[in-house]
Amino acid sequence: MMKSSSFTRATLSLSSILSLRPKPGRVAFCSAAKPKPQTPLYLRPPEFRATLSDLRKWHIWAKTEACNFSAVDGGAESSLLRRELRWLVEDAVEQPGLVWEEMNEEGGREVAMRACLEELYEMWKERIEERRPFQYVVGCEHWRDLILSVEEGVLIPRPETEVIVDLVDAAVKADEELRDGYWADLGTGSGALAIAVARVLGGGGGGGGRVAAVDLSPIAVAVASYNVERYNLQERICVRLGSWFDPLEDLRGELSGLVSNPPYIPSDDIDGLQAEVSRHEPRLALDGGPNGMDDLIHLCNGAASMLKPRAFFAFETNGEMQSKFLVDYMDTKMKGSFCRLNIISDFAGIQRFVTGYRSA
């Protein structure tokens, strides 16, 4: 799907985007091309009504659909779908607590909802039949303590990536100077890392540093900006449209920190992934080239000149092979640029993250 769209890295990287690059420090996407982000279901006004008995009918239908479903690709399974169904009701109904209590009782009382029943039928069909990710269906993802708006064209933040924020937190606690600097989140997508990092930087009292959130996709830039505003961090985070370090020329050698969850899946593997990912999520955010390393290598090369001495970085990778390759690459090909390189596992024990510092 993303392949056919006009936003591929090659066509966008240097030509049109550079000319649009705004002055540093401003929220930075072109207003003419600004896509309008969708409002997550749970934030829509409760302007629809349905009787409890009709809602119950829908719920029974949806539950049966969920129970009868099984996917061979390791994606949705029925216990998960039943949990998602509960969350869908929580997001769609104005007073979910009351509705749960009365769901099994008879009576035609009306409840206020944020989508009409027809739309709920449609949503659940898309979820089950088309394997549309639940987070796109409800338009949000709960990630760390944040609720982030997401939609097609933006990678849904993964729980693994939550760890990067803890790594940043540990780094700024070890070196408080990092807290006040300029950080970058490259390939920000929904803005998850940028927002969480900005909150970590601001957590020590006082001012705290700023974060540049960069993405090549105008949809991602629009969604990230929306999320930044929702958390009232416009003063602290600037969202910039462009490829990796390109929109950050003004910060060359100035960055105190860099985080990124770049695309790292080998191109040939993508079609074999579960349907929610392969059919619905943006290829731009997943495809890391033939061996998945294209963007990680690009980030390493750029980091050497963009980071200031003693700056911290953390990258997410595909796992052990990529992490080891990356550390080896930095140790040998970029000898002297980086120090204190470390591979850190995610909760599942997969060697997921590479961290380190720019040499002094």
Binding site: G75, L80, R144, V277, E281, N318, I350
Partner: protein, 404 residues
């Protein structure tokens, strides 16, 4: 400087010298509430007051209050704010109980005096007014009598209720989910807040294990009466041969201690955190909403897990709160073991011991093995009507402790 006094109560009585002990000694017959007889009301109220005092361990209360008052008046008390908080909370709580009990006595005697006066003056209006007031007091104090059951230090806390299916596959998992449902309904009927923390569904039906958090006044105090194994006898709907099955579900109840209590310090380095998520490769490969977390506290081996929240972060936070409560409870039990006073109640909290049977076939009955309290309508019990069982257990166990 504030001086905390213990204000030990002087013996109260009516104008003609009738005391609570005196009323009880008179052995007046207690009739139904509808009988308009002041002696009957007075006797019922006097008995309730006596019970409340007994449950409060009245005789120990006064010296304890004096001790606490002394402690509170010490100059250096607030050098240790957490100790000071505990002392002043305890002092306030005991003062409150004493005042409440004394106020009941006072009210009882006022009404009696008033009724006697009305009779002397032939004032029927005043007499019926006072009689109604006496009846209202009788009803009110009956409720307070139940509340006095909940005098334990942790009784006012919210709690977790955990239900685990016993051996026996689908039938016992179905039973476990019925038991969980019973507690949810019970909690709702008491207007407690209920939130599911963890739920592991059975393959075919029911649950392997589930944990709910129950918020509300005295949630732990009431729910602690449910700890133990619950036994079900019925024709299993999962048995095509329609045979009778016996299954078990075990129930654990853990208080959630507030900020005022001391918690066991849990070090991050002592934790093993496991994350469960479908799909081996993880990361960008996988997008599921599954983000279960299990945390093991290595020094104690205590574990807690959560998979019902919408982010890993929330699941971890939720599992941590369960873990903290479990580790706190373990420490409380350890302390209690050192303290002979608690050995009695400790033997009651044995997860394995069978406390209640629910028989749906060949006859219908729910019976509590600790108190012999029984009900012939299992449906109402499974719909959450548990208060009879809980209160009879609480009063039996308190009265037992009192006799020791």
């Amino acid at each position: 400087m504030r001086v905390f006094s213990s204000q030990a109560a002087a013996e109260a009585s009516t104008s003609d010298g009738l005391t609570v002990e005196g009323i009880i000694a008179n052995n007046w017959v207690i009739y139904d509430e509808n009988e308009s007889d002041w002696k009957s009301h007075a006797a019922a109220i006097a008995q309730s007051i006596h019970l409340i005092k007994k449950r409060l361990r009245w005789k120990e209360l006064i010296p304890k209050l004096e001790m606490l008052s002394e402690e509170l008046n010490k100059e250096d008390l607030w050098d240790d704010p957490s100790h000071a908080g505990k002392i002043s909370r305890e002092h306030g709580s005991i003062m409150g109980k004493i005042k409440a009990a004394n106020a009941f006595e006072q009210e009882l005697f006022e009404h009696i005096d008033m009724i006697k006066l009305a009779r002397e003056e032939n004032d029927t209006e005043l007499e019926s007014e006072s009689m109604n007031a006496l009846l209202a007091l009788r009803r009110n104090i009956k409720e307070k009598e139940l509340e006095a059951l909940l005098a334990g230090e942790h009784d006012p806390c919210p709690c977790f209720i955990e239900v685990q299916a016993g051996a026996g596959g689908t039938e016992s998992m179905d039973w476990a989910s019925m038991v969980m449902q019973m507690y949810k309904k019970w909690a709702e009927s008491r207007h407690f807040g209920v939130a599911v923390v963890e739920e592991i569904a059975g393959e075919m039906a029911g649950i392997k294990r589930a944990t709910i958090r129950v918020d509300g006044d005295y949630a732990y105090g009431y729910a602690k009466a449910e700890v133990g194994a619950h036994r079900l006898v019925r024709i299993s709907p999962f048995d095509s041969n329609k045979r009778r099955h016996t299954s078990f579900a075990s129930v654990a109840v853990i208080p959630i201690l507030g900020d005022g209590f001391s918690h066991v310090q849990i070090n991050e380095s002592d934790l093993k955190i496991e994350r469960f998520r479908a799909g081996g490769a993880g990361g960008q490969h996988v997008n599921t909403t599954e983000s279960a977390v299990r945390i093991t506290h290595i020094p104690t081996g205590v574990t807690a897990s959560c998979q019902n929240e919408r982010s890993q972060h929330q699941n971890k936070a939720s599992a941590m709160s369960v873990l903290q409560s479990r580790v706190d409870q373990l420490e409380m039990q350890r302390q209690a073991q050192k303290n002979a006073e608690h050995t009695q109640s400790l033997t009651d909290i044995n997860f394995g011991s069978q406390i209640r049977s629910y028989v749906l076939h060949p006859y219908r009955m729910v019976k509590d093995h600790r108190t012999d309290y029984e009900v012939s309508d299992p449906d109402s019990v499974l719909e959450g009507d548990l208060d009879g069982f809980i209160l009879s257990y609480l009063s039996a166990s308190l009265d037992k402790n009192e006799d020791d």
